[in-house]
Symmetry: C2
Subunit: 163 residues, 2 copies
Amino acid sequence: MKELSHLLLLAAFAMGSAIAADPAPNGITLPQGYKDWRVISVSDRSDNNTLRVILGNDIAVQAARAGKTNPWPDGAILGKLAWENSVHPKWEKATVPGDFVQAEFMHKDSVKYASTGGWGYARWVGLDQKPYGKDASFAQECVGCHTPVKDNDWVFTHPAKLP
Amino acid sequence: MKELSHLLLLAAFAMGSAIAADPAPNGITLPQGYKDWRVISVSDRSDNNTLRVILGNDIAVQAARAGKTNPWPDGAILGKLAWENSVHPKWEKATVPGDFVQAEFMHKDSVKYASTGGWGYARWVGLDQKPYGKDASFAQECVGCHTPVKDNDWVFTHPAKLP
């Protein structure tokens, strides 16, 4: 029994970084391995003082590099990680990431998410990745904020130019 | 002969994104596949109005996630991609990437690059990735600018916090 409990402890430890956060209220789960996704763009928002990086799964990155993002293809997932703005301690004219704010995702499925513009929205707040929203209606808030870019397939991000 | 020239054209086309840029004046070559590297941090510099993403090769990302970056391990390569600041057309409080400025790299090798703080510096400018610097002495300019962070192993970047 002692060996078994040690084994279970070891297994739990090994799984540490793979333990899933709770799903969003609309059932969307946190994409595994999103921190290893490739970069599509970055942004700095002065209205809420956050720095952001926009990542994509393979389908999204392929679409971004091919310039085929209006509409984005079904299966694309965009991930946006946000940090509070902070001043670099040795270069005060540089804004750098402070505390981690949230990770939010848009899943493109033009059939499944037709009622929210073809995108399924989800957000996890803080380093402990707490799902955002009390019930599935939170997505209406996302759609409302994204309305200014409905002509860009509801996406704010334009892929950054790359060599 | 016609088939051969077609084949050569096809081969050139297929290699398109793999054609190497010229090496930097100190002999450092542009790392292949750097656009697929993982994110370590981002920054927004108001002194030269550029947005940046800092990427790393596998050795660098492992060190960043393990918090072992002072010093960074030999073999680590940091890549910094910079774009001119631009205003989002539909969200004026968001600064987003405009024209691509440059990709610059730091290669950690405490023996090979001992004369420049253990790092080999290189930069390629613009979408056509023209090497920066007239001769190998350009690296002194890099070292000079990095002197404020010599106590952080000559690196400005602190890895962004991640869940």
